[in-house]
């Protein structure tokens, strides 16, 4: 299993490191200062280190996969697998949180948080939607009141569409 999931990830990291090394001079303007004293020094060093270490990781894993034929089973037993359900979990949470971030400036904290927590309850295995809605409302109000009145932190309460 030379192209095991772990090795594929190493290849992705190598490609990203090379790309980052290429774009680095455009991102950091050293103003002609010497390399050793310059702002590019540590980013260059760390990126090079990531590149070299990923190549080494790839080499070692590729080498060992020739020796250990059960490499794939070993990787799965260590949790190093990424299937449909793993992807679904990442996707659902990302969508939920990005939607929260996008809707927050318009709908305010109370409404967006209510829907977010209700969604989280449901995808995590909650059953009775009516009870969950009540629980969500209580959780959000409790959180809001704690922030607002106990710690004096203001969170946008109500919808505001003036910026549209």
């Amino acid at each position: 299993m030379i192209f095991s999931l772990r090795n594929k990830l190493s290849i992705i990291i190598i490609c990203l490191s090379i790309t980052a090394l290429i774009i680095l001079p455009y991102q950091i303007n050293d103003g002609g200062s010497s390399f050793f004293g310059g702002a590019q020094l540590i980013p260059n060093l760390t990126l090079s280190l990531i590149l070299i270490l990923s190549l080494l990781d790839l080499f070692i894993n590729g080498f060992f996969s020739f020796i250990i034929q059960k490499n794939h089973d070993f990787l799965i037993s260590n949790g190093e697998s990424f299937g449909f359900y793993d992807f679904l979990a990442v996707l659902l949470i990302t969508i939920a949180f990005v939607t929260f971030a996008l809707a927050l400036p318009y709908l305010g904290y109370l409404i967006t948080s209510f829907f977010l927590i209700l969604f989280l309850f449901l995808i995590n295995g909650g059953k009775n939607i009516f009870r969950l809605a009540i629980l969500s409302a209580i959780s959000v109000i409790f959180m809001y009141c704690t922030m607002r009145f106990l710690f004096g932190i203001y969170l946008q309460t109500l919808p505001d569409f003036s910026s549209i």
Partner: protein
Amino acid sequence: MENLIIGIQNALTLGPIIALIAGVTIGIFMGAIPGLTAAMAIALLAPITFGMQPITAIAFLIGIYKGGTFGGSISAILLNIPGSPEASATSFDGFPLAKKGRAREALQMALFASVAGAIIADILLYVVAAPFSKFALKFGPTELTFVVLFAFTFVAGLTGKSIIRGLIACSFGILCAMVGLDPMSATPRLTFGFIELFDGLSLLSIAIGMLGLAEIIFVLEKKFREKYGLKKVEVAQFGKKRGPNLNLVIFFQYWKTILRSSFIGSCVGALPGIGASMAAFLGYGSAKKYSTEPELFGKGNLDGIAGPEAANSAVVGGSFVPLLTLGIPGNVTTALMVGTFLVHGIEPGPHVFNNQPILIYSIFSILLIANFFNLIIGLLGSGIYSHIIRLPEYIIYSIVGLTCLTGVLAASSTIFDLYIVIIFGVIGYFMKKFDYSFVAFLIGFVLAPEFELSFRSYLLLAQGDPIGLLFSRPIALFFFGLTILAILKILWDRIAKIN
């Protein structure tokens, strides 16, 4: 002496006391729930400390840290599921005792041993920290460069299954810390045109994303796997009988185990990267080695609870040695504390002993007082906590999800930081899944600014001859030697393990 008295007086004021009570209560609660840790609690709740007095904020965080360390043992004993990784060894003998109907005795032994271990470690911290800080004052850029380099290597090598991936994670952490303005020339670096990134990435957003959000994704993934029958998750049984209280005479019979484990925990805590889990296993191992009844270990021996609990709690005090004397956090929790310290204008390191001696003695006093509250709240609350940990997972993790986002909003009030949390939540999930150590990443991120400044100063001081300068500095050379030895030892152990 005067500073010590003022420090104690400061610690005994109303604000820090209330903060300690709240912190310990939250810490035990978070520690008791499997998957949630004291570090996560600190990441989530650090924003609310920004408005507090520095000493109150520190008391709150120390309370969480101490409470969280004990809290993990509650679910380890009652459910056979360690609430935090460092409580794993406690479950070996704690759960068999609970099944025999002696849960109360096991919980009390865990609590008493935990408190005793923490007190011994705090006293050791008090004795060791001040002299060591005087020694650390001699450190210049060259010494600091190699001390931090040693910390990076040690943490990267010991916190994951692979030293290579540990070093990659650490390098990635350093790279992320480079975002923002260059400290010497004020040149924007890796900002991609976003003005919001000029101040750099926020430690809090990264920690909340990687600790909180990544864990929520993991739990959801586990749910899906369970639902579709891909992987059955074991559900532990719990004996309903609580049983008798622990007799104090019996507790004091274990003083040797507690003393030994406390010393082990303090030493482990003082070394960056090893962590409380390793200390707990070492404590368990030594308790078994010196026990007169080693055959009873794993079947419900109180020695098997006292050893790991004293050791993992002693790590808290030990971890403050490198933090306060060198400014080097040895684990995730202390790394997160550095962020809060800096917000309050406290820069951990040897100078803090000279510049803010009262603060240092206040911290020492708080550490000791926190043990008292840990004992009281642990004794009074273990019954309540044992019910709370049975709340459905979907409720706990959904509320944690909302707390993650609310915490970031409270700290920064910008939507941009929410996106940072989401991005680092996904990155954290993949790092955890593929064993790229999160601890190494975070230590890299926290220490990178210090490392960069000292490393660039070292290169400028060297005037083209860095090796010559290194060999003219014995302390730097010592730490360079330690780094090489650490790499060789870690590699040797890994090869031996493979063979």
